[in-house]
Symmetry: C2
Subunit: 658 residues, 2 copies
């Protein structure tokens, strides 16, 4: 192992042989590199093991434990082994002298016998432990730089969530989702913050608190544990095939509140050191913090959407180049946002949604597959890595502060915060919604508020102070509890709440359509501001940014004729015939509902085989929401059995061919 | 920018506010993170620009400059801008005090007013410049840790080279390829080393040498510039469709000599500091070095092949899991080799070859596509990144030592080294080969010895001493020259040497077959040790490790019946009928040559449509070498026009369906 030398200010024998120095340094570097490889190998092996077990579970249709829970268990096991099984003591000369500098620069240049070595700042080492700095080399080595989570592992997960969002149901419930995600998360954050402040104040009185814990710390804790996790949820609900609206509400909320939580927590951090050390509540600073929140959020949003718009590719003939470009553009969104001081993760989320909506239509069919598969793989690896790392840190992290009172308080606070989010908001939303959110749905939403990767990443980002260490340990327990207990208990919970599982989204829809009235609710639900935007999008943005949709010449006022002609791509004219079915999976207004029924059956028979293979709107829009679109078709054709058979036959053929 | 503070040993005012410290540190870290993002963004933009230009070039069928050359040009441009356009001076308090430690540990703990900060060693800073340490923050920032190349960028490139190797032609010419790659590279290394030693000695006499330059340095230089690059070559020759044997020789040599060069150079480094400072030639140490070479090479080889064998997947129903597992296994080969002290890159190369030969057959068709596309993308990105970074370092690297005499000497040495590799070896090989390597082929092989990513990565790995800096600068020029001049001049060179380009591999083969005698040459060329191995592989290894090939029950002696039965997978029995065409694209012995002719035409008509879609041997083996396999079929069927049309129709249909 490489020695961790506490910096000593000793004069040095200058006459040493340079060559010997060189050799020693090289050996040291080689040894260190070897150990790094071995440590990374541990994680790779963990992932491999997880994959094999997942396969076994899927193979045997064993559904009690989700793969993320599994990854965590393996992580815990390896953590235990590393903690208690292997002990690699450090060969360090523990001489801490008073040789202190007056700042901790990011880069340090050290003069060793006339040669300069560059050192980069890795972070602060646990202060509380003072002299007995982390004594186990192995454990120290398997600890990653927290920035790795934010800059490498989270972006693909969040991008994939945006890119694979089932936009139809998402946009149908957009109002409710936004309410839960924005207002709900803020409510939850403040409720948890206030409860925790009470707990902490009580602990101070009782004398259970071993360090400072300010009100802003409580709010920060509230922000990080308010982010519910889309990963585990998505997988469980997808397997179970629950009600599509419930799915959309939960998934939409949990994707967006990750974004809200990340911006909220950074606003609180920006608010925290407001010049002085007060850490108390100030109206003005609070307002400023709110301004930061709005600025960062809208900035990140704008940037993500702008890059999504910009990725306007004409490289259809070269799928490799196209995929590479797509990947690079998505990544550069993240980097650009970070470089501008916005939040990369939020930008990447909206970039993903925009790209799925516009760019995806421009890609060649080959690239559509490639990008989906690529991000699916990246997401899968990143997600399992995070969860197994989570398990590992339970034992490998050396500055845990487990305070029973704080932990109990936190569990209560999280429960209350979630309740204060779901129930009042659902009540308010139900006043406006025709398609009410039933109380059983509300209970499930309450129960299914799992905490996952984002909460972990936010809490591990800074574990320097006592307060943050306590938060981190508690957060870890909350994540474990929710993933194992709530995740595993979802199936019983659903049956207890008499929410039908195994509902094919077809059947669910067919019920909606057959009585006909609920369709209108859907229409009402997508309120007027959204309908205006939808029309604008359908008539102008889509034709402008993609090869699909109606040509601009048809939608723009006649006075703009020449402009429209030069902006319309040649392919767009070909689509003119099939306008209505294009966005049928997206939103329905009165006109399209009726016309659609007639339209689809015809176009299915008429254009037949080539629908999916061509680059037409239809095919591309179907890409992501394929099963849902299929459902829609089947519904529309329900009257005639013959046509139904015909079309499903066609579709399966098309799938086979493409 | 973050200040680069030369470490100062000042006593510190301890009474400072901790909170203020915290804020300052956080701001600093944030600023640093922001700049890192901006720098990475530069590279992403560079890559994006390269992709767009490549597309333009491909679109306009402009073939003069290869994409790697293009990436380099963009890199140079950005390097010039960063060097001369932007100047970000450092805000550093340049007080270098005598506070020196007596070692340069990998980790440093610095005590700043009672708080401990951890620093990690980044590397040595150019010694020659002493006090005026790199003065441009921006340039310092865009410089990557050289290990990034070895641990992140090279593995996917090398793995892809192995995985996409056209095994049929490779194995047909295996003897010659091994001769060029092993003996040739060693010859080249020593010729270049000796010539350079002459040049350096002369420079020392003339007084042109500004530092130490030992004989081992010369040999090291010889090793690193002996690695020819498969990337550029592969692309150019693939586009031009030159003679398959020439292609196989060049590609096989350049893939394998990367492996040889990397092990050779590390053996030389291991030999270099042989306890004392002599740096002179010693027979015993030399022998030891040779031992190290053999040990490391065979160890890496064994490890790579072993992991290739081990990746034995039954996850066919879950392509995502399968692809993830495949990816992780390949990566863990690299890490395992590094952790064991072997060479990860070499292990990954053989792992790729083995996996293409065995594992690929076990993958589901979906995973076969996914893995190919994934590694294609990774390879593309990594390769373009390396080449644009190469361009960038020409101006951004701050310790260049351009010595005209050394540079001229190096170019001459490289030329002589290549000549001493190709011409004598070709002469010797031609004594044994029936299918002679013509003198025009030899000239092209001489000319097409491009240097690329591996040479660069090896030379940037260590740029601490004067000798290494001079090597690095010279290497950079050699890479630029060969990629631009030799790469761009390949097309004129081929036509000058009257080597037909645009040869469809079909026609080339048909000539070979029609006169019939050359087939036998091919057979003779794959000499007896190889034939034995081939039979062993075909009869035992393939059936054991994959679902393809004949069942073991048919190939093993009858006494091993029960064992054979339990080792044979159920699918293997299905393949029993079509044994001969299975490996037809791999090697030909007398029996199979004749039987193949009859066999293929029949099986084409009989099994018809399902051949490619099923997971049979045929389909999987065809995967990688598809166009070559097609050629073979067409050749076999050449007698009957009707069948030919029929089969090509079938094949195109199959391609459409799968």
């Amino acid at each position: 192992m490489c020695p961790l030398v506490s910096f000593t200010c000793l004069p040095v024998v200058q006459g040493e042989s340079n060559a010997m120095d060189n050799v020693a340094t090289e050996r040291l570097a080689e040894e260190s590199h070897r150990q790094d490889s071995a440590n990374l190998l541990i994680f790779i092996m963990l992932l491999t093991l997880t994959i094999l077990t997942i396969w076994l579970f899927k193979h045997r249709r064993f559904r009690f434990l989700h793969e993320t829970g599994l990854a965590m268990i393996y992580g815990v096991l390896v953590g235990v082994i590393l903690r208690f099984g292997v002990h690699v003591p450090q060969s360090m000369s523990d001489v801490i002298l008073g040789c202190a500098v007056n700042a901790s620069p990011a880069t340090l240049l050290v003069n060793v016998s006339g040669r300069f070595y560059e050192y980069t700042l890795k972070g602060e080492v646990s202060r509380g432990k003072g002299h007995q700095v982390q004594d186990d080399e192995m454990l120290r080595k398997v600890t990653f730089d927290p920035e790795v989570f934010f800059n490498i592992l989270l972006p693909p997960i969040i991008f994939h969530a945006g890119y694979s969002l089932k936009r139809r149901h998402f946009f149908r419930n957009i109002g409710s989702i936004l309410a839960y995600a924005f207002m709900g998360t803020v409510i939850s954050c403040f409720v948890i913050g206030l409860v925790m402040y009470g707990v902490v104040s009580f602990m101070k009185v009782v004398g259970q608190l071993g360090g400072d814990f300010y009100f802003t710390d409580c709010l920060f804790f509230g922000a990080i544990v308010s982010a519910t996790d889309p990963v585990t949820l998505l997988a469980i609900f997808n397997d179970l095939q629950v009600d599509v609206d419930l799915y959309a509400l939960l998934f939409g909320e949990s994707v967006l509140n990750d974004a809200v939580a990340i911006v909220l927590s950074s606003s609180i951090v920006a608010y925290q050191p407001a010049g002085d050390n007060s850490h108390s509540f100030e109206a003005l600073a609070m307002l400023k913090s709110f301004g930061v929140f709005l600025g960062v959020f809208s900035g990140s949003f704008a940037l993500g959407v702008a890059t999504g718009f910009m990725t306007f590719t004409k490289l259809r003939d070269f799928p490799l180049l196209e995929t590479a470009l797509f990947f690079l553009m998505s990544w550069s969104t993240f980097l650009l946002a970070e470089a501008c001081g916005f939040t990369g993760v939020v930008a990447v989320l909206f970039c993903g949604i925009t790209q799925a909506h516009y760019t995806f239509n421009n890609l060649s069919p080959d690239s559509q597959d490639r990008t989906k598969q690529l991000f699916e793989l990246l997401n899968f690896l990143a997600e399992n890595f995070i969860f197994s790392y989570m398990g590992l840190t339970l034992f490998s992290f050396q500055s845990h502060v487990f305070n029973p009172m704080f932990i109990v308080g936190a569990f209560v606070a999280v429960f209350l915060g979630r309740a204060a989010n779901i129930y009042p908001l659902s009540f308010l939303l139900n006043l406006g919604r025709k398609n009410k959110i039933g109380s059983n749905f509300q209970h499930v939403m309450m129960f299914a508020g799992l905490r996952g990767a984002m909460t972990f990443a936010l809490s591990i980002r800074d574990t320097a102070t006592y307060a943050r260490q306590m938060m981190f340990s508690t957060t870890l327990l909350i994540v474990f509890f929710t993933v194992w207990i709530c995740g595993g208990g979802t199936t019983p919970m659903l049956s207890f709440m008499s929410i039908p599982v195994g509902v094919d989204s077809d059947q669910d829809n067919s019920v909606t359509v057959l009585d006909g009235s609920q369709r209108r609710n859907t229409k009402h639900e997508s309120a007027w501001p959204f309908r205006i935007w939808y029309n604008f999008d359908h008539n102008y943005l889509k034709p402008l940014l993609t090869h699909s949709g109606p040509p601009l010449t048809a939608t723009m006022p006649t006075c703009c004729g020449p402009l429209a002609r030069c902006l319309t791509s040649p392919q767009a004219y070909e689509n003119e015939g099939r306008l209505h079915d294009d966005d049928s999976d997206f939103i329905l207004n009165d006109a399209s509902v009726s016309s659609m029924y007639a339209d689809i059956t015809v176009s299915m028979d008429a254009s037949g085989r080539t629908i999916n293979c061509s680059s037409s709107t239809r095919a591309s829009d179907e890409g992501l929401d394929h099963e849902l679109a299929l459902a829609e078709h089947e519904v529309a054709i329900r009257g005639t059995r013959l046509v139904l058979h015909n079309s499903s036959h066609l579709i399966s053929q098309e799938n086979g061919i493409c």
